[in-house]
Amino acid sequence: MKILIGYKRVVDYNVRIQVKPDGSGVVTDGVKLSANPFDDIALEEALRLREKGVAEEVIVVGIGPADLTAHLRNGLAMGANRAIHVVTADAVQPLTAARVFLKLIEKEQPGLVILGKQAIDDDANQTGQMLAALWDRPQATFASKVEIADGKATVTREVDAGLEVIEAELPAVITTDLRLNEPRFIKLPDIMKAKSKPIDTIEFGSLGVEANDHLKTTHYAAPAKRSKGVMVKDAAELVAALKQKGLL
């Protein structure tokens, strides 16, 4: 079985994002970029499935600009067999990303596609679900445990009410939650090895995917700031203050 992984590059989660003063976007020049943390988790899960003998090949997919190569090399260093780089200079919205994945699925015929539940830049939380709909296959979102046996995935999902367990016949789309696993660290020799692993580049335009731009972002703003409050000296003062506000 092949596993396809969404491997998106995003602004590192430690970066404090600043909105440009003219409201035209956020400052991304010179900020640290990393793999979307949920996508590292997706890749780790696929590698474990390969190590267990459930899968033979793990392919990381990145949709983005020409300089995405170094990022994809990280995925290869972590252990993916090969990478596919769909090259586009334009920002890709989730529906378009899903349509790209569908094209790659038609070609690669994976048994499983694992994406992050959300990318931490846009926080859209859509791509996996949209892909599953277009592919007409099961989706198991927000996964914290995955078991593959007898042609199906048994997935534990982190939902608001607790933990939900569902069964999904393969092929299927899974999206990862934080507690699915702890991704491994990349070791130096792996970085060397990754240099000889293949990266297929595909021009976005050659896929015949309709770039969907039904949504236009017209303005960026900084969120309303909470102002710093007061420090109280002890428990009694805190309780008095909360009682005065009618909160206790």
């Binding site: 599953a132 933990l163 939650d177 969907n212 039904h214 949504l215 007061v230 309780v239 909160l247 206790l248």
Partner: protein, 314 residues
């Protein structure tokens, strides 16, 4: 004119308050009709609750055994069919809505607006990105159906009681897949208030130190009638179950009172509490970033301070 279809979220035969919050967002669109769609195995109790929400024009029901559990692959084709004739489909931005709404959007071939915080016009919305560090204004193409998830914490629930909207059965001819099956829901049995709708929340972090120690958080929460939440670090360490996680990747909440105890205040955590009325922080480190956003800060050891708080409350 806009016609809005709101998808009801429910569990165990009861309507979730996120539905009435999504109705509030629908009201803000100022359209001509707001219909609530109830998909369940047995719809009556849920539908009559939905019919009481102010602003609702009609409640539409689809009762099918396949709808006993909220499987996105099963619900989405029905919602996509029901969406015909509507300009907007609103779904609460809970794990239910986040799971099903994008699947509906893809079936309709449209983009989705995630986490709507405010409605600026029938096709103009504000939503957060980068863990709430930027707020964008997005414009949806009026030529297409708007599928949106509604950020519960930004909307108060529409009032109930005065309305008595008609309830109608909807016949939907959609082939439903069997490739996805519900197995079980493991719910932490709790008589405590629900984290997402509670007016008071007490959260513990890594500073609480262990699962056993977390009892002190639960006890204190019970004393003031609060729901219990946690940081990701506390969940990862196994102190509490995952459904208590508050933050960017957990629950986004807006209680009147939020007490963060032994939580440092990482941006991913703060994303979840930005809309809280009053934030109280208790931390032994006076430099902890949580104090930057707290309305009331108290520096000290939580194991000493919580008993003192309990005594002071009386």
């Amino acid at each position: 004119m806009s016609k809005i279809l709101v998808i009801a979220e429910h569990l165990g035969g009861k309507l979730n308050s996120s539905t009435a919050r999504a109705v509030s967002a629908a009201v803000a669109v100022k359209g001509e009709a707001i219909d609530v769609l109830v998909l369940a195995d047995s719809v009556d109790a849920i539908a009559s609750e939905a019919a009481k929400i102010d602003g609702v024009s009609r409640v539409l029901t689809v009762a099918r055994p396949e709808n006993a559990h909220p499987l996105a692959a099963v619900l989405a084709p029905q919602i996509a069919k029901a969406a015909a004739g509507y300009s907007h489909v609103f779904v609460p931005s809970t794990t239910f809505g986040k799971d099903v709404a994008p699947r509906v959007a893809a079936l309709l071939g449209v983009a989705q607006v995630s986490d709507v915080m405010s409605v600026e016009g029938p096709h103009t919305f504000k939503r957060p990105i980068y863990a709430g560090n930027a707020i964008i204004t997005v414009e949806a193409d009026p030529a297409h159906t708007v599928v949106a998830t509604i950020r519960s914490a930004s909307w108060s629930a529409a009032a109930t009681g005065a309305n008595n909207a008609p309830i109608e059965t909807l016949a939907i001819d959609a082939a439903l897949p069997t490739h996805t099956r519900f197995v079980e829901l493991k719910q932490g049995a709790s008589d405590r208030p629900d984290l997402q709708s509670a007016s008071k929340v007490v959260s513990g972090g890594r500073g609480v130190g262990s699962k056993e120690n977390f009892d002190i958080i639960f006890k204190f929460a019970d004393k003031i009638g609060a729901a219990v939440g946690a940081s990701r670090a506390a969940v990862d360490a196994g102190y509490v179950p995952s459904d208590l996680q508050v933050g960017q990747t957990g629950k986004i909440i807006a209680p009147e009172l939020y007490m963060a105890i032994g939580i440092s205040g990482a941006i991913q955590h703060l994303t979840g509490i930005k809309d809280a009325g009053t934030i109280v922080a208790i931390n032994k480190d006076g430099e902890a970033p949580i104090f930057e956003v707290a309305d009331f800060g108290l520096v000290g050891d939580l194991f000493k301070l919580i008993p003192e708080l309990e005594r002071a409350i009386g």
